[in-house]
Subunit: 300 residues, 2 copies
Protein backbone atom coordinates (compact mmCIF):
# COMPACT_ATOMS: atom_id res chain seq x y z
CA UNK A 1 0.00 0.00 0.00
CA UNK A 2 1.36 3.35 -1.05
CA UNK A 3 -1.33 5.75 0.03
CA UNK A 4 -1.27 9.01 2.01
CA UNK A 5 -3.10 7.05 4.72
CA UNK A 6 -0.19 4.64 5.19
CA UNK A 7 1.94 6.65 7.65
CA UNK A 8 -1.16 7.16 9.82
CA UNK A 9 -2.00 3.46 9.75
CA UNK A 10 1.60 2.54 10.55
CA UNK A 11 1.45 4.69 13.64
CA UNK A 12 -2.06 4.00 14.91
CA UNK A 13 -2.96 0.42 13.98
CA UNK A 14 -0.25 -1.34 16.03
CA UNK A 15 -1.17 0.80 19.04
CA UNK A 16 -4.88 0.01 18.62
CA UNK A 17 -4.23 -3.70 18.14
CA UNK A 18 -1.91 -3.80 21.14
CA UNK A 19 -4.51 -2.09 23.28
CA UNK A 20 -7.28 -4.45 22.14
CA UNK A 21 -5.13 -7.53 22.80
CA UNK A 22 -4.36 -6.27 26.31
CA UNK A 23 -8.02 -6.08 27.33
CA UNK A 24 -9.02 -8.56 30.02
CA UNK A 25 -12.66 -9.60 29.92
CA UNK A 26 -12.74 -12.06 32.82
CA UNK A 27 -11.38 -12.12 36.35
CA UNK A 28 -9.36 -14.91 37.93
CA UNK A 29 -12.31 -16.87 39.27
CA UNK A 30 -14.14 -16.83 35.93
CA UNK A 31 -11.10 -17.65 33.80
CA UNK A 32 -11.34 -21.38 34.49
CA UNK A 33 -15.09 -21.54 33.82
CA UNK A 34 -15.82 -19.04 31.06
CA UNK A 35 -12.52 -18.98 29.16
CA UNK A 36 -14.12 -19.65 25.75
CA UNK A 37 -16.27 -16.52 26.15
CA UNK A 38 -13.18 -14.29 26.39
CA UNK A 39 -11.62 -16.28 23.56
CA UNK A 40 -14.66 -15.67 21.35
CA UNK A 41 -14.61 -11.96 22.19
CA UNK A 42 -10.90 -11.65 21.33
CA UNK A 43 -11.27 -13.83 18.22
CA UNK A 44 -13.47 -11.31 16.46
CA UNK A 45 -11.78 -8.29 18.01
CA UNK A 46 -8.43 -9.38 16.63
CA UNK A 47 -9.58 -10.59 13.21
CA UNK A 48 -7.66 -7.73 11.61
CA UNK A 49 -10.29 -5.23 10.61
CA UNK A 50 -9.59 -1.82 9.13
CA UNK A 51 -9.87 -0.15 12.57
CA UNK A 52 -11.63 2.78 10.90
CA UNK A 53 -13.57 3.92 13.97
CA UNK A 54 -10.69 3.89 16.47
CA UNK A 55 -8.42 5.57 13.90
CA UNK A 56 -10.98 8.35 13.53
CA UNK A 57 -11.12 8.79 17.31
CA UNK A 58 -7.34 9.10 17.51
CA UNK A 59 -7.16 11.48 14.52
CA UNK A 60 -9.89 13.74 15.85
CA UNK A 61 -8.27 13.85 19.28
CA UNK A 62 -4.86 14.59 17.81
CA UNK A 63 -6.17 17.63 15.96
CA UNK A 64 -6.44 19.20 19.43
CA UNK A 65 -3.89 17.47 21.63
CA UNK A 66 -0.59 15.71 20.91
CA UNK A 67 -0.81 12.85 23.46
CA UNK A 68 -2.99 10.65 21.28
CA UNK A 69 -2.34 7.47 23.27
CA UNK A 70 -4.57 8.90 25.98
CA UNK A 71 -7.47 8.38 23.54
CA UNK A 72 -6.75 4.65 23.06
CA UNK A 73 -9.33 3.34 25.58
CA UNK A 74 -12.02 5.50 23.94
CA UNK A 75 -10.94 4.35 20.49
CA UNK A 76 -11.01 0.74 21.71
CA UNK A 77 -14.56 1.14 23.04
CA UNK A 78 -15.71 2.05 19.52
CA UNK A 79 -13.97 -0.98 18.03
CA UNK A 80 -15.63 -3.23 20.63
CA UNK A 81 -19.05 -1.91 19.67
CA UNK A 82 -18.31 -2.23 15.96
CA UNK A 83 -17.09 -5.80 16.45
CA UNK A 84 -20.16 -6.79 18.49
CA UNK A 85 -22.35 -5.49 15.67
CA UNK A 86 -20.49 -7.62 13.11
CA UNK A 87 -20.83 -10.77 15.24
CA UNK A 88 -24.58 -10.29 15.63
CA UNK A 89 -25.05 -9.27 11.97
CA UNK A 90 -23.33 -12.46 10.81
CA UNK A 91 -25.64 -14.76 12.83
CA UNK A 92 -27.81 -17.26 10.94
CA UNK A 93 -30.94 -15.34 11.98
CA UNK A 94 -29.49 -12.15 10.48
CA UNK A 95 -27.21 -12.17 7.40
CA UNK A 96 -26.08 -15.78 7.89
CA UNK A 97 -22.48 -15.21 6.81
CA UNK A 98 -19.77 -17.86 7.08
CA UNK A 99 -16.83 -15.59 6.38
CA UNK A 100 -15.80 -12.24 7.81
CA UNK A 101 -12.48 -10.52 7.19
CA UNK A 102 -11.31 -13.71 5.45
CA UNK A 103 -11.91 -15.95 8.47
CA UNK A 104 -14.83 -18.05 9.66
CA UNK A 105 -17.43 -15.93 11.44
CA UNK A 106 -17.68 -16.09 15.21
CA UNK A 107 -20.65 -18.45 15.37
CA UNK A 108 -18.99 -20.83 12.89
CA UNK A 109 -16.18 -21.30 15.41
CA UNK A 110 -17.87 -20.90 18.79
CA UNK A 111 -21.49 -21.76 18.05
CA UNK A 112 -24.46 -19.45 17.99
CA UNK A 113 -25.06 -19.22 21.72
CA UNK A 114 -21.53 -18.15 22.57
CA UNK A 115 -21.42 -15.79 19.57
CA UNK A 116 -24.53 -13.99 20.83
CA UNK A 117 -22.95 -13.71 24.28
CA UNK A 118 -19.59 -12.59 22.88
CA UNK A 119 -21.44 -9.75 21.13
CA UNK A 120 -23.40 -8.88 24.27
CA UNK A 121 -20.17 -8.95 26.26
CA UNK A 122 -18.26 -6.68 23.86
CA UNK A 123 -21.08 -4.13 23.83
CA UNK A 124 -21.29 -4.04 27.62
CA UNK A 125 -17.52 -4.02 28.14
CA UNK A 126 -17.26 -0.98 25.86
CA UNK A 127 -19.15 1.02 28.47
CA UNK A 128 -17.04 -0.41 31.28
CA UNK A 129 -13.89 0.68 29.40
CA UNK A 130 -15.19 4.22 29.16
CA UNK A 131 -15.80 4.44 32.90
CA UNK A 132 -12.78 2.49 34.15
CA UNK A 133 -9.97 3.00 31.63
CA UNK A 134 -10.38 6.57 30.39
CA UNK A 135 -8.37 9.27 32.20
CA UNK A 136 -10.78 12.20 32.02
CA UNK A 137 -13.07 14.34 34.16
CA UNK A 138 -16.46 12.80 35.03
CA UNK A 139 -18.31 15.35 32.83
CA UNK A 140 -16.24 14.15 29.87
CA UNK A 141 -16.84 10.46 30.63
CA UNK A 142 -20.58 11.11 30.80
CA UNK A 143 -20.40 12.80 27.38
CA UNK A 144 -18.53 9.80 25.99
CA UNK A 145 -21.06 7.31 27.34
CA UNK A 146 -23.94 9.43 26.05
CA UNK A 147 -22.37 9.70 22.58
CA UNK A 148 -21.65 6.00 22.27
CA UNK A 149 -24.98 4.80 23.62
CA UNK A 150 -26.97 7.15 21.39
CA UNK A 151 -25.00 6.20 18.27
CA UNK A 152 -25.13 2.46 18.97
CA UNK A 153 -28.70 2.18 20.29
CA UNK A 154 -32.14 2.05 18.75
CA UNK A 155 -31.86 5.62 17.40
CA UNK A 156 -28.54 4.71 15.79
CA UNK A 157 -26.91 1.50 14.69
CA UNK A 158 -29.49 -0.94 16.08
CA UNK A 159 -32.28 1.12 14.52
CA UNK A 160 -30.52 1.06 11.15
CA UNK A 161 -29.97 -2.66 11.36
CA UNK A 162 -33.65 -3.14 12.21
CA UNK A 163 -34.65 -1.23 9.07
CA UNK A 164 -32.31 -3.47 7.09
CA UNK A 165 -34.10 -6.55 8.45
CA UNK A 166 -37.60 -5.12 8.10
CA UNK A 167 -37.33 -4.10 4.46
CA UNK A 168 -35.95 -7.36 3.10
CA UNK A 169 -38.02 -8.45 0.15
CA UNK A 170 -40.53 -5.62 0.60
CA UNK A 171 -41.30 -2.87 -1.88
CA UNK A 172 -42.20 0.34 -0.12
CA UNK A 173 -42.05 2.88 -2.94
CA UNK A 174 -39.75 5.11 -0.90
CA UNK A 175 -36.56 3.05 -1.33
CA UNK A 176 -34.28 6.01 -1.93
CA UNK A 177 -35.12 7.83 1.31
CA UNK A 178 -35.08 4.56 3.15
CA UNK A 179 -31.64 3.52 1.95
CA UNK A 180 -30.14 6.79 3.16
CA UNK A 181 -31.89 6.66 6.55
CA UNK A 182 -30.81 3.05 6.94
CA UNK A 183 -27.12 3.73 6.35
CA UNK A 184 -26.95 7.01 8.21
CA UNK A 185 -28.15 5.06 11.25
CA UNK A 186 -26.51 1.70 10.66
CA UNK A 187 -23.02 2.96 9.74
CA UNK A 188 -22.91 6.75 9.80
CA UNK A 189 -24.01 7.24 13.41
CA UNK A 190 -21.18 5.20 14.92
CA UNK A 191 -18.55 6.64 12.55
CA UNK A 192 -19.63 10.18 13.41
CA UNK A 193 -19.69 9.39 17.11
CA UNK A 194 -16.17 7.91 16.96
CA UNK A 195 -14.92 11.28 15.68
CA UNK A 196 -16.90 13.25 18.25
CA UNK A 197 -15.53 11.07 21.04
CA UNK A 198 -12.02 12.24 20.14
CA UNK A 199 -13.19 15.86 20.12
CA UNK A 200 -15.03 15.47 23.43
CA UNK A 201 -12.03 13.88 25.12
CA UNK A 202 -9.89 16.85 23.99
CA UNK A 203 -12.63 19.32 24.93
CA UNK A 204 -13.01 20.68 21.38
CA UNK A 205 -15.32 23.52 20.31
CA UNK A 206 -18.99 23.04 19.34
CA UNK A 207 -18.12 24.36 15.83
CA UNK A 208 -15.49 21.69 15.27
CA UNK A 209 -17.85 19.11 16.75
CA UNK A 210 -20.65 19.86 14.32
CA UNK A 211 -18.29 20.05 11.34
CA UNK A 212 -16.84 16.63 12.14
CA UNK A 213 -20.28 15.18 12.83
CA UNK A 214 -21.24 16.09 9.30
CA UNK A 215 -17.94 14.82 7.91
CA UNK A 216 -18.55 11.53 9.73
CA UNK A 217 -22.04 11.13 8.29
CA UNK A 218 -20.75 11.82 4.79
CA UNK A 219 -17.85 9.37 4.92
CA UNK A 220 -20.07 6.81 6.64
CA UNK A 221 -22.45 6.95 3.71
CA UNK A 222 -19.53 6.95 1.23
CA UNK A 223 -18.19 3.88 2.96
CA UNK A 224 -21.49 2.06 2.42
CA UNK A 225 -21.79 3.12 -1.21
CA UNK A 226 -18.23 1.88 -1.79
CA UNK A 227 -19.13 -1.35 -0.02
CA UNK A 228 -22.11 -1.89 -2.29
CA UNK A 229 -19.92 -1.24 -5.33
CA UNK A 230 -17.29 -3.66 -4.03
CA UNK A 231 -19.91 -6.30 -3.42
CA UNK A 232 -20.94 -5.98 -7.06
CA UNK A 233 -17.50 -5.96 -8.66
CA UNK A 234 -15.06 -7.21 -6.02
CA UNK A 235 -13.57 -10.65 -5.71
CA UNK A 236 -13.73 -12.88 -2.69
CA UNK A 237 -9.99 -12.87 -1.98
CA UNK A 238 -9.58 -9.12 -1.63
CA UNK A 239 -12.78 -8.48 0.29
CA UNK A 240 -12.67 -11.50 2.58
CA UNK A 241 -16.39 -12.13 2.64
CA UNK A 242 -18.97 -13.90 0.52
CA UNK A 243 -19.38 -12.05 -2.76
CA UNK A 244 -22.73 -11.30 -4.28
CA UNK A 245 -24.38 -12.15 -0.98
CA UNK A 246 -26.29 -8.86 -1.07
CA UNK A 247 -27.75 -9.68 -4.48
CA UNK A 248 -28.67 -13.21 -3.45
CA UNK A 249 -30.79 -11.81 -0.63
CA UNK A 250 -32.38 -9.31 -3.03
CA UNK A 251 -31.06 -6.58 -0.78
CA UNK A 252 -31.62 -2.91 -1.31
CA UNK A 253 -28.22 -1.42 -2.20
CA UNK A 254 -26.96 1.75 -3.85
CA UNK A 255 -26.08 -0.35 -6.89
CA UNK A 256 -29.46 -2.09 -7.09
CA UNK A 257 -31.20 1.27 -6.79
CA UNK A 258 -29.00 3.61 -8.84
CA UNK A 259 -26.99 1.20 -11.01
CA UNK A 260 -23.20 0.88 -10.91
CA UNK A 261 -22.58 4.23 -12.62
CA UNK A 262 -25.15 5.97 -10.48
CA UNK A 263 -23.54 4.58 -7.33
CA UNK A 264 -20.10 5.71 -8.53
CA UNK A 265 -21.42 9.23 -9.17
CA UNK A 266 -22.93 9.32 -5.70
CA UNK A 267 -19.61 8.20 -4.22
CA UNK A 268 -17.74 10.95 -6.07
CA UNK A 269 -20.24 13.52 -4.80
CA UNK A 270 -19.86 12.38 -1.20
CA UNK A 271 -16.08 12.44 -1.56
CA UNK A 272 -16.13 16.05 -2.75
CA UNK A 273 -18.47 16.98 0.08
CA UNK A 274 -16.20 15.34 2.66
CA UNK A 275 -13.10 17.14 1.35
CA UNK A 276 -14.91 20.49 1.29
CA UNK A 277 -15.85 20.07 4.96
CA UNK A 278 -12.18 19.65 5.85
CA UNK A 279 -10.87 22.72 3.96
CA UNK A 280 -11.13 25.17 6.89
CA UNK A 281 -9.23 22.76 9.14
CA UNK A 282 -6.03 22.99 7.09
CA UNK A 283 -3.04 20.67 7.55
CA UNK A 284 -4.32 19.41 10.92
CA UNK A 285 -6.92 17.45 8.96
CA UNK A 286 -4.40 15.62 6.75
CA UNK A 287 -5.25 12.28 8.36
CA UNK A 288 -9.00 12.72 7.95
CA UNK A 289 -8.45 13.78 4.32
CA UNK A 290 -6.48 10.59 3.71
CA UNK A 291 -9.30 8.54 5.23
CA UNK A 292 -11.87 10.19 2.95
CA UNK A 293 -9.66 9.49 -0.07
CA UNK A 294 -9.03 5.91 0.96
CA UNK A 295 -12.71 5.09 1.36
CA UNK A 296 -13.37 6.22 -2.20
CA UNK A 297 -10.34 4.55 -3.74
CA UNK A 298 -10.96 1.16 -2.16
CA UNK A 299 -12.86 -0.04 -5.22
CA UNK A 300 -9.94 0.20 -7.60
CA UNK B 1 -51.62 -11.43 47.68
CA UNK B 2 -51.50 -10.61 51.36
CA UNK B 3 -47.82 -10.27 52.05
CA UNK B 4 -45.72 -7.62 53.82
CA UNK B 5 -44.32 -6.84 50.37
CA UNK B 6 -47.73 -5.81 49.02
CA UNK B 7 -47.80 -2.14 50.15
CA UNK B 8 -44.34 -1.67 48.62
CA UNK B 9 -45.42 -3.26 45.33
CA UNK B 10 -48.59 -1.16 45.27
CA UNK B 11 -46.51 1.97 45.53
CA UNK B 12 -43.54 1.13 43.29
CA UNK B 13 -44.78 -1.14 40.51
CA UNK B 14 -47.26 1.29 38.89
CA UNK B 15 -44.58 4.01 38.96
CA UNK B 16 -42.00 1.65 37.39
CA UNK B 17 -44.45 0.43 34.75
CA UNK B 18 -45.52 3.96 33.94
CA UNK B 19 -41.91 5.02 33.55
CA UNK B 20 -41.08 2.06 31.30
CA UNK B 21 -44.11 2.69 29.10
CA UNK B 22 -43.10 6.32 28.69
CA UNK B 23 -39.68 5.48 27.25
CA UNK B 24 -39.22 6.47 23.62
CA UNK B 25 -36.73 4.34 21.71
CA UNK B 26 -36.97 5.94 18.27
CA UNK B 27 -37.06 9.47 16.93
CA UNK B 28 -39.58 10.90 14.48
CA UNK B 29 -37.66 9.99 11.33
CA UNK B 30 -37.14 6.37 12.42
CA UNK B 31 -40.68 5.82 13.67
CA UNK B 32 -42.05 5.12 10.20
CA UNK B 33 -39.25 2.75 9.26
CA UNK B 34 -38.27 0.89 12.43
CA UNK B 35 -41.53 0.91 14.38
CA UNK B 36 -41.54 -2.86 14.98
CA UNK B 37 -38.16 -2.59 16.73
CA UNK B 38 -39.58 -0.24 19.37
CA UNK B 39 -42.68 -2.45 19.56
CA UNK B 40 -40.54 -5.53 20.20
CA UNK B 41 -38.57 -3.68 22.89
CA UNK B 42 -41.74 -2.54 24.66
CA UNK B 43 -43.41 -5.95 24.23
CA UNK B 44 -40.91 -7.67 26.50
CA UNK B 45 -40.42 -4.68 28.77
CA UNK B 46 -44.13 -4.56 29.52
CA UNK B 47 -44.77 -8.28 29.80
CA UNK B 48 -45.49 -7.80 33.51
CA UNK B 49 -42.41 -9.14 35.26
CA UNK B 50 -41.81 -9.00 38.99
CA UNK B 51 -39.75 -5.78 38.64
CA UNK B 52 -37.42 -7.09 41.33
CA UNK B 53 -34.34 -5.13 40.24
CA UNK B 54 -36.00 -1.70 39.86
CA UNK B 55 -37.84 -2.24 43.17
CA UNK B 56 -34.51 -2.90 44.88
CA UNK B 57 -33.04 0.29 43.39
CA UNK B 58 -35.98 2.32 44.69
CA UNK B 59 -35.91 0.67 48.12
CA UNK B 60 -32.16 1.17 48.53
CA UNK B 61 -32.43 4.81 47.47
CA UNK B 62 -35.34 5.44 49.82
CA UNK B 63 -33.37 4.23 52.81
CA UNK B 64 -31.36 7.43 52.37
CA UNK B 65 -33.63 9.94 50.65
CA UNK B 66 -37.41 10.38 50.55
CA UNK B 67 -37.82 11.51 46.90
CA UNK B 68 -37.72 7.97 45.48
CA UNK B 69 -39.18 8.98 42.11
CA UNK B 70 -35.84 10.58 41.32
CA UNK B 71 -34.41 7.04 41.17
CA UNK B 72 -36.92 5.83 38.55
CA UNK B 73 -34.66 6.29 35.48
CA UNK B 74 -31.90 4.33 37.24
CA UNK B 75 -34.37 1.63 38.26
CA UNK B 76 -35.65 1.50 34.68
CA UNK B 77 -32.14 1.03 33.30
CA UNK B 78 -31.81 -2.13 35.40
CA UNK B 79 -35.12 -3.46 34.13
CA UNK B 80 -34.04 -2.80 30.53
CA UNK B 81 -30.87 -4.81 31.05
CA UNK B 82 -32.74 -7.62 32.78
CA UNK B 83 -35.30 -7.72 29.97
CA UNK B 84 -32.63 -7.79 27.26
CA UNK B 85 -31.04 -10.77 29.01
CA UNK B 86 -34.36 -12.64 29.03
CA UNK B 87 -34.94 -12.00 25.32
CA UNK B 88 -31.49 -13.32 24.40
CA UNK B 89 -31.72 -16.26 26.85
CA UNK B 90 -34.98 -17.36 25.27
CA UNK B 91 -33.58 -17.49 21.72
CA UNK B 92 -33.53 -20.86 19.91
CA UNK B 93 -29.71 -20.88 20.06
CA UNK B 94 -29.85 -20.46 23.84
CA UNK B 95 -32.68 -21.92 25.98
CA UNK B 96 -35.17 -22.09 23.10
CA UNK B 97 -38.20 -21.10 25.17
CA UNK B 98 -41.62 -20.41 23.66
CA UNK B 99 -43.19 -18.89 26.75
CA UNK B 100 -42.03 -16.21 29.15
CA UNK B 101 -44.15 -14.61 31.86
CA UNK B 102 -47.13 -16.46 30.41
CA UNK B 103 -46.81 -14.93 26.93
CA UNK B 104 -45.02 -15.97 23.74
CA UNK B 105 -41.34 -15.10 23.88
CA UNK B 106 -40.06 -12.14 21.88
CA UNK B 107 -38.68 -14.15 18.95
CA UNK B 108 -41.94 -16.14 18.68
CA UNK B 109 -43.72 -12.87 17.92
CA UNK B 110 -41.13 -10.75 16.14
CA UNK B 111 -38.76 -13.34 14.69
CA UNK B 112 -35.22 -14.10 15.75
CA UNK B 113 -33.49 -11.24 13.97
CA UNK B 114 -35.65 -8.54 15.51
CA UNK B 115 -35.53 -10.24 18.92
CA UNK B 116 -31.72 -10.14 18.87
CA UNK B 117 -31.86 -6.45 17.93
CA UNK B 118 -34.52 -5.67 20.53
CA UNK B 119 -32.18 -7.13 23.16
CA UNK B 120 -29.20 -5.20 21.79
CA UNK B 121 -31.31 -2.05 21.75
CA UNK B 122 -32.53 -2.43 25.35
CA UNK B 123 -28.99 -3.01 26.62
CA UNK B 124 -27.64 0.03 24.81
CA UNK B 125 -30.60 2.26 25.72
CA UNK B 126 -30.05 1.44 29.40
CA UNK B 127 -26.75 3.31 29.23
CA UNK B 128 -28.34 6.17 27.34
CA UNK B 129 -31.00 6.47 30.08
CA UNK B 130 -28.31 6.74 32.74
CA UNK B 131 -26.58 9.60 30.94
CA UNK B 132 -29.62 11.46 29.64
CA UNK B 133 -32.47 10.87 32.11
CA UNK B 134 -30.81 10.76 35.52
CA UNK B 135 -30.65 14.02 37.48
CA UNK B 136 -27.33 13.62 39.27
CA UNK B 137 -23.77 14.97 39.32
CA UNK B 138 -21.43 13.59 36.61
CA UNK B 139 -19.35 11.68 39.22
CA UNK B 140 -22.51 9.86 40.27
CA UNK B 141 -23.54 9.07 36.69
CA UNK B 142 -20.08 7.63 36.01
CA UNK B 143 -20.46 5.41 39.10
CA UNK B 144 -23.86 4.23 37.86
CA UNK B 145 -22.54 3.38 34.38
CA UNK B 146 -19.52 1.60 35.90
CA UNK B 147 -21.73 -0.43 38.25
CA UNK B 148 -24.20 -1.47 35.56
CA UNK B 149 -21.58 -2.31 32.92
CA UNK B 150 -19.50 -4.37 35.33
CA UNK B 151 -22.51 -6.30 36.62
CA UNK B 152 -23.98 -6.93 33.18
CA UNK B 153 -20.76 -7.63 31.23
CA UNK B 154 -18.42 -10.58 30.82
CA UNK B 155 -17.39 -10.45 34.50
CA UNK B 156 -21.02 -10.48 35.52
CA UNK B 157 -24.24 -11.60 33.88
CA UNK B 158 -22.85 -12.43 30.44
CA UNK B 159 -20.02 -14.41 32.05
CA UNK B 160 -22.52 -16.37 34.14
CA UNK B 161 -24.69 -17.08 31.13
CA UNK B 162 -21.61 -18.27 29.21
CA UNK B 163 -20.83 -20.76 31.99
CA UNK B 164 -24.42 -21.96 31.79
CA UNK B 165 -23.99 -22.62 28.06
CA UNK B 166 -20.53 -24.13 28.35
CA UNK B 167 -21.34 -26.71 31.01
CA UNK B 168 -24.45 -28.14 29.39
CA UNK B 169 -24.14 -31.90 29.25
CA UNK B 170 -20.57 -31.85 30.62
CA UNK B 171 -19.37 -33.42 33.84
CA UNK B 172 -16.56 -31.39 35.38
CA UNK B 173 -16.29 -32.90 38.85
CA UNK B 174 -16.57 -29.45 40.41
CA UNK B 175 -20.29 -28.93 39.90
CA UNK B 176 -20.97 -27.42 43.32
CA UNK B 177 -18.44 -24.60 43.03
CA UNK B 178 -19.48 -24.06 39.47
CA UNK B 179 -23.18 -23.74 40.22
CA UNK B 180 -22.50 -21.02 42.80
CA UNK B 181 -20.11 -19.11 40.53
CA UNK B 182 -22.60 -19.36 37.71
CA UNK B 183 -25.50 -17.92 39.66
CA UNK B 184 -23.54 -15.29 41.53
CA UNK B 185 -22.56 -13.94 38.09
CA UNK B 186 -25.69 -14.68 36.11
CA UNK B 187 -28.25 -13.41 38.63
CA UNK B 188 -26.51 -12.14 41.75
CA UNK B 189 -24.29 -9.53 40.11
CA UNK B 190 -27.16 -7.56 38.55
CA UNK B 191 -29.36 -7.84 41.65
CA UNK B 192 -26.52 -6.56 43.84
CA UNK B 193 -25.75 -3.78 41.41
CA UNK B 194 -29.40 -2.68 41.31
CA UNK B 195 -29.23 -2.11 45.09
CA UNK B 196 -25.88 -0.32 44.89
CA UNK B 197 -27.21 1.96 42.17
CA UNK B 198 -29.83 3.24 44.62
CA UNK B 199 -27.15 3.77 47.26
CA UNK B 200 -24.83 5.54 44.80
CA UNK B 201 -27.56 7.84 43.58
CA UNK B 202 -28.26 8.85 47.21
CA UNK B 203 -24.53 9.07 47.98
CA UNK B 204 -24.64 6.38 50.70
CA UNK B 205 -21.72 5.27 52.85
CA UNK B 206 -19.20 2.58 51.83
CA UNK B 207 -20.33 0.50 54.83
CA UNK B 208 -23.94 0.47 53.69
CA UNK B 209 -22.76 -0.22 50.16
CA UNK B 210 -20.83 -3.31 51.09
CA UNK B 211 -23.58 -4.60 53.37
CA UNK B 212 -26.17 -4.31 50.61
CA UNK B 213 -23.79 -5.80 48.04
CA UNK B 214 -23.63 -8.90 50.21
CA UNK B 215 -27.39 -8.88 50.81
CA UNK B 216 -27.87 -8.66 47.03
CA UNK B 217 -25.63 -11.63 46.36
CA UNK B 218 -27.42 -13.69 48.99
CA UNK B 219 -30.95 -12.95 47.77
CA UNK B 220 -29.78 -13.37 44.16
CA UNK B 221 -28.63 -16.88 44.98
CA UNK B 222 -31.79 -17.53 47.02
CA UNK B 223 -33.84 -16.41 44.06
CA UNK B 224 -32.12 -18.95 41.82
CA UNK B 225 -32.47 -21.79 44.35
CA UNK B 226 -36.18 -20.95 44.68
CA UNK B 227 -36.43 -20.90 40.87
CA UNK B 228 -34.90 -24.36 40.62
CA UNK B 229 -37.33 -25.63 43.27
CA UNK B 230 -40.26 -24.04 41.44
CA UNK B 231 -39.14 -25.57 38.17
CA UNK B 232 -39.23 -28.97 39.85
CA UNK B 233 -42.56 -28.67 41.66
CA UNK B 234 -44.37 -25.70 40.10
CA UNK B 235 -47.12 -25.78 37.58
CA UNK B 236 -47.18 -24.03 34.25
CA UNK B 237 -50.05 -21.69 35.05
CA UNK B 238 -48.51 -20.07 38.11
CA UNK B 239 -44.99 -19.79 36.76
CA UNK B 240 -45.81 -18.77 33.22
CA UNK B 241 -43.00 -20.65 31.54
CA UNK B 242 -42.36 -24.17 30.30
CA UNK B 243 -42.13 -26.50 33.26
CA UNK B 244 -39.48 -29.14 33.58
CA UNK B 245 -37.51 -27.44 30.81
CA UNK B 246 -34.41 -27.43 33.01
CA UNK B 247 -34.61 -31.19 33.51
CA UNK B 248 -35.21 -31.84 29.83
CA UNK B 249 -31.94 -30.09 29.01
CA UNK B 250 -30.16 -32.08 31.73
CA UNK B 251 -29.29 -28.77 33.35
CA UNK B 252 -27.24 -28.37 36.46
CA UNK B 253 -29.61 -27.04 39.15
CA UNK B 254 -29.63 -26.84 42.94
CA UNK B 255 -32.29 -29.55 42.89
CA UNK B 256 -30.37 -31.87 40.55
CA UNK B 257 -27.23 -31.42 42.65
CA UNK B 258 -28.57 -31.35 46.22
CA UNK B 259 -32.02 -32.93 45.85
CA UNK B 260 -35.29 -31.15 46.67
CA UNK B 261 -34.73 -31.24 50.46
CA UNK B 262 -31.13 -30.16 50.10
CA UNK B 263 -32.17 -27.22 47.95
CA UNK B 264 -34.84 -26.25 50.49
CA UNK B 265 -32.28 -26.32 53.31
CA UNK B 266 -29.95 -24.13 51.26
CA UNK B 267 -32.79 -21.68 50.63
CA UNK B 268 -33.60 -21.49 54.34
CA UNK B 269 -29.93 -20.85 55.11
CA UNK B 270 -29.70 -18.04 52.58
CA UNK B 271 -32.91 -16.53 53.92
CA UNK B 272 -31.52 -16.44 57.46
CA UNK B 273 -28.28 -14.91 56.18
CA UNK B 274 -30.18 -12.20 54.27
CA UNK B 275 -32.27 -11.28 57.33
CA UNK B 276 -29.21 -11.15 59.57
CA UNK B 277 -27.51 -8.71 57.19
CA UNK B 278 -30.50 -6.36 57.50
CA UNK B 279 -30.70 -6.35 61.33
CA UNK B 280 -28.43 -3.31 61.89
CA UNK B 281 -30.45 -1.29 59.39
CA UNK B 282 -33.63 -1.39 61.54
CA UNK B 283 -37.06 -0.30 60.28
CA UNK B 284 -35.58 1.48 57.23
CA UNK B 285 -34.95 -1.97 55.77
CA UNK B 286 -38.57 -3.15 56.07
CA UNK B 287 -38.95 -3.25 52.30
CA UNK B 288 -35.77 -5.24 51.74
CA UNK B 289 -36.81 -7.64 54.51
CA UNK B 290 -40.14 -8.19 52.77
CA UNK B 291 -38.32 -8.91 49.49
CA UNK B 292 -36.10 -11.49 51.17
CA UNK B 293 -39.16 -13.16 52.70
CA UNK B 294 -41.07 -13.09 49.44
CA UNK B 295 -38.28 -14.76 47.46
CA UNK B 296 -38.28 -17.67 49.89
CA UNK B 297 -42.05 -18.00 50.13
CA UNK B 298 -42.66 -18.01 46.40
CA UNK B 299 -42.62 -21.80 46.31
CA UNK B 300 -45.67 -22.25 48.52
Amino acid sequence: MNHPLKPFLDEYVPAINGHLESLVFLDGELEGFAGPLAEAMHYSLEAGGKRLRPILTLMAYRMLAPDWRRALPVAAAYELVHTYSLIHDDLPAMDDDDLRRGRPTNHRIYGEALAILAGDGLLTEAFRLLTENVAAAPEVVVKLVAGLSRAAGSRGMVGGQAIDILIQGKKTGREKTLLEVLHRRKTGALISASLLAGIDLADGSPELRSRLAEFGEVIGLAFQVADDILDEIGDEASLGKDIGSDRELDKLTFVSLFGLDGARDRLAGLHAQARTLLVPLGPAAAGLRAVADYIVERDR
